[in-house]
Symmetry: C2
Subunit: 133 residues, 2 copies
């Protein structure tokens, strides 16, 4: 049992409930979407064609890849270029903004990867303690 303590919040409560917070959440939601993160990672080294992306990211459907790319394009993180070849070729590329986001996303992915065993261990013992293990 820990001793009593007095907690002093670091930040006033109001900014966390306002519209900016909601807007930041919508950006973070991109990061919580595994497909968006994988697409951003795949584009770090340069433009990639749609079909190549689909191949690189195993398990993604054509429709889901299209939706993911459209969301990233809408956020200004990715550009789409159509080359009028036969068949037409479509390339996707990170914008400067997208490359900027890739840095903290990579740091987070690295953390997640390194601490995966601890998190999975915690889940297993939690479930065991709570009768689901």
């Amino acid at each position: 049992m820990r001793p009593e303590h007095t907690h002093v919040p670091a930040l006033p409560p109001s900014p966390h409930a306002d519209g900016n917070c909601r807007a930041v959440a919508s950006v973070l939601a991109r990061v919580g979407d595994k497909w968006s993160v994988l697409v951003i990672m795949m584009l770090i080294d340069g433009p990639v064609r749609f079909n190549e992306l689909k191949r690189m990211i195993g398990g993604i459907s054509q429709r889901m890849l299209t939706l993911t790319l459209r969301g990233l394009e809408r956020d200004g993180l990715v550009t789409r270029t159509i080359f009028p070849t036969i068949p037409p070729r479509v390339d996707y590329e990170l914008t400067d903004l997208g490359r900027g986001l890739a840095q903290p996303v990579q740091a987070l992915g690295k953390w997640a990867f390194e601490h995966l065993p601890e998190i999975e261990g915690a889940r297993t013992s939690f479930d065991a303690r709570n009768g689901q293990g």
Copy 2:
């Protein structure tokens, strides 16, 4: 129109389709969940009581806060301590693992906050171009 290019992927495709990738995605999903991020942020400076958390995070329901805290506890990011006072007092605190996660999450939140105007601008012009503006 950009010139032709040859793309050389930085990483082999296989690791991105396997179980580790799925597991990392489950960690990133925490970050995509705005309530989890807000709770982690609120706990950075030390333990906070349930009711205080609820007050600090405007707009969260009792049920959603309970579910969020339970998910964070299950992942080993947060501990829960009950003090047998009347009424009982429940404190939540980041674990070392949780404090570790808070760092890259803060970096990402900082990026999101700083680039919000660009992202919102991109969304507005995308929607205008696509007849939804």
